[in-house]
């Protein structure tokens, strides 16, 4: 028998760890809110049941305040789950019970899982599970998902609930609140579509709290109920909070603290100190990564390539294959990484000897940063500067995620609460945050002229992002939402989880990125083989050579940049080998700014819609012409 189980709960309570334990899958797990912004699905088989388990994005309430919470809510209202598993943090039950009480109103079979019970025990927090079950009228399971503790009991409880199909009654609220809610529920029952009729009570509560999606159903409310609506919402929220307090007083005994704020935490709220700490940590991390990448992740693979791979593959195929298109496509017509342009030479070198080893290091470091709890802390000192460009502190998590891959970063903007913040945070990733694979290429290609040019590029991108953000903030309409954010506890990153996450991300790159890298190399190869490159270069010469002061063949890299920007940057040396350092700086600037890669474009279209995406492309084009032209002019002047 099939059954659909939804894991629901606050961000960062360990839902994804629990999901991985239940399904044996590897959803990415991190120590910051918003890691899961889409729904992960896995399967578990137990006692004849095939459980389809869904890991919902984190939500504090059914009253959604961002896209991720909306996705989570839809999973309950439209996804027809058989059982809802509310995953809560055992160390802070009072805060989580508010959501339990909301979920009880849905009338769906519900289980309360108190995760991280190991931390609660260490902190001297005792939970009377039986009393909690009695008061709430739902099964309660204690788990420590990281250790795999309580997983068997949870599966057994899910099966028990599936067999009994017992759903909880709504929580008992003060009679006056209850009376008004009942009237509102009756009013909505007649107006809701049949598939939502069973949720009339929960939707009455949401409407009272000001939910916009169902607000239109209250347009013909009797006047006395309409006048009571806002007050009802307030009374309802306060009554639930009081009930959560009362339940905790009966079921939880706390003899200690589970929280240990650090010196960094205390300094974060001071803008200058917070920014200085956050920037220093980030700079130290980037500097160390640069050193590691240069010394290990690039030098060693290059030695392997030139020492073993190239002589065997290139030497072998050169002798075995007759001259012609196939040979040209596979190994090109000249030796050397950048000039060969063959799939098995340049293509293989880019993927396996250049990008992959560097990505391994970068993802490893990103994983450590994520799991330590540092990332969400960046939101606090960066809130004020990011608000000046139309985003907010919470945008730091998507932006840092976007430094890995902008596809992930644009998805992650779902945690932001305003359309304006989502637009700006996505746009910042398009123009100001090259993905890791591109950064690898930037360090290797532009860095070969000297580290100062890499620093200059980052300065140009930062200045462009800040200037564009200031203008966008002034021009774009939209409200500001104040920053209220939960900071996760500091945790020592678990090597196993960091490695697992790194492998998942590398596999993603290999599966999705590699075909595009190879396609990019193939396209450039064919542009040269067919002579089309000459025609294209002639067509765009006024802009590429006239405005940007670049060799006209750079246009080949720009064509490839639509597919993969890392390949485009890597190709710059191949298509225009004689460029000076200032010219290379201009070329990399233009490649980074002029267009998003195709993957990022598709995700942005899906997330922000065609109008906003088109607007972003128009702004990007203007920026590229302005900034590329300016840097090109400076490079022309520097060349005398």
């Amino acid at each position: 028998m099939d059954a659909k189980i939804v894991l629901f709960g606050h961000p960062n309570v360990g839902k994804s760890v629990l999901f991985n334990q239940l399904t044996g899958l590897t959803a990415v797990v991190s120590n910051y809110p918003g890691t899961t912004v889409e729904v992960y699905e896995g399967e578990a088989r137990v006692e004849g049941f095939r459980l389809r388990i869904l890991d919902a994005p984190g939500a504090y309430s059914l009253l959604a305040t961002n896209e991720a919470e909306d996705v989570a809510r839809r999973l309950l209202l439209e996804g027809k789950p058989d059982v809802v598993v509310h995953v809560a943090d055992a160390t802070s039950l009072k805060r989580h019970l508010y959501l339990t009480l909301e979920l009880m109103e849905l009338g769906l079979p519900l289980i309360l899982v108190l995760n991280q019970v190991d931390r609660a025990e260490k902190a001297g927090i005792e939970i009377d599970k039986r009393e909690l079950e009695r008061v709430l009228g739902i099964p309660v399971v204690l788990t420590a998902a990281v250790e795999g503790r309580g997983i068997g009991e949870l599966l057994k409880t899910i099966v028990d609930v599936l067999r009994s199909r017992r759903a909880p009654s709504p929580p008992k609220l003060p009679p006056e609140v209850e009376g008004c809610l009942t009237k509102l529920e009756e009013h909505l029952s007649d107006r809701l579509p049949p598939e939502l009729g069973r949720f009339a009570r929960a939707l009455a509560s949401l409407t009272a709290l000001g939910d916009e999606e169902f607000g239109h159903l209250t347009e013909d409310l009797p006047s006395e109920l309409r006048e009571r609506l806002e007050g009802l919402g307030r009374d309802l929220a306060l009554a639930r909070a009081e009930l959560a307090n009362a339940i905790c007083e009966r079921a939880v005994v706390s003899r200690g603290r589970a929280l240990k704020p650090s010196v960094i935490d205390r300094l974060l709220v001071r803008p200058a100190a917070g920014l200085a700490i956050a920037s220093s940590i980030m700079l130290a991390v980037v500097w160390s990564m640069l050193a590691i990448i240069h010394e290990i992740a690039h030098r060693l693979p290059s030695t392997l390539y030139y020492g073993f791979y190239e002589p065997i593959v290139r030497g072998g195929l050169d002798a075995a294959l007759p001259d012609g298109l196939i040979k040209y496509i596979l190994i090109g017509d000249s030796p050397g990484i950048y000039s060969s342009l063959g799939l098995l030479t340049t293509g293989v070198f880019f993927v396996f000897f250049m990008i992959l080893p560097c990505l391994f290091i970068l993802y490893l470091v990103l994983g450590i940063l994520e799991d330590s709890g540092l990332l969400p802390r960046l939101a606090v000192p960066f809130d004020a500067p990011l608000r000046k460009v139309g985003a907010c502190g919470e945008a730091m998590c998507p932006i840092v995620a976007g430094s890995g891959c902008s596809i992930v970063g644009v998805f992650a903007t779902r945690i932001l609460r305003t359309e304006k913040a989502r637009f700006v945070a996505s746009f910042i990733q398009w123009i100001g945050v090259p993905c890791m694979a591109e950064q690898v290429m930037i360090w290797l290609v532009l860095g070969s002229y000297g580290p100062i040019y890499v620093a200059l590029l980052y300065a140009i991108l930062l200045a462009t992002t800040v200037a564009t953000g200031l203008i966008l903030n002034a021009l774009l309409p939209g409200d500001e939402e104040p920053l209220i954010m939960e900071l996760p506890p500091w945790r020592r990153p678990q090597l196993r989880n960091v490695l697992k996450k790194t492998m998942v991300r590398l596999r993603e790159f290999l599966l999705k990125g590699t075909p595009l890298v190879l396609l990019g190399v193939l396209v450039v190869n064919l542009l040269y083989y067919t002579g089309l490159i000459g025609a294209l270069a002639g067509l765009l010469e006024p802009v590429v050579s006239g405005l940007f002061n670049l060799p006209s063949h750079v246009v080949a890299a720009l064509v490839i940049g639509v597919l993969r920007k890392d390949v485009a940057v890597g190709m710059l040396k191949a298509v225009a080998p004689g460029m000076t350092a200032p010219q290379m700086l201009t070329a990399v600037t233009v490649v980074t700014l002029y267009f998003p890669c195709v993957g990022s474009l598709v995700v942005t279209l899906k997330e922000l819609g065609p109008k906003r995406t088109l607007l972003m492309i128009v702004i990007m084009t203007i920026i590229t012409i302005a900034v590329g032209g300016l840097v090109g002019l400076l490079s022309r002047l520097s060349l005398g």
Binding site: Y60, S61, L63, T65, D89, T91, S92, L93, K94, R95, Y98, L99, A123, I125, L209, G210, E230, G233, R234, A237, L238, R240, A241, E242, A244, N245, S254, R257, A258, L259, P261, D265, R266, L267, L268, V269, R270, P271, G274, A379, V380, P381, D383, A384, P482, L483, I484, M485, E486, L487, P488, P489
Partner: protein, 77 residues
């Protein structure tokens, strides 16, 4: 005991009832910042207030901290 704004508090306090806009009130309560809850201000600065509530750490921007009233015993500020 005396009343003051969260932005002025240092140390332990108790959140008092608030006259916030409904959505903001629900957001705060759903994150654990409900009237009557005991909190501990860990640090405050120009950006806002970092506080502990129910074994969790919450950052509240200065703007919101100005709107929240607290009860503090006469030894606290």
């Amino acid at each position: 005991m005396h009343d003051c704004r969260l932005s002025e508090v240092e140390g332990p306090a108790k959140l008092a009832s608030t006259e916030l806009e409904l959505k903001l009130l629900n957001r705060l309560i759903s994150m654990g910042l409900a009237p009557g809850r005991e909190i501990l201000v860990i640090s405050r600065g120009r950006s806002g207030v970092l506080l502990e509530v129910d074994n969790s750490m919450i950052f509240v921007s200065r703007k919101v901290a100005h709107l929240l009233s607290c009860e503090v015993d006469d030894h606290g500020r």
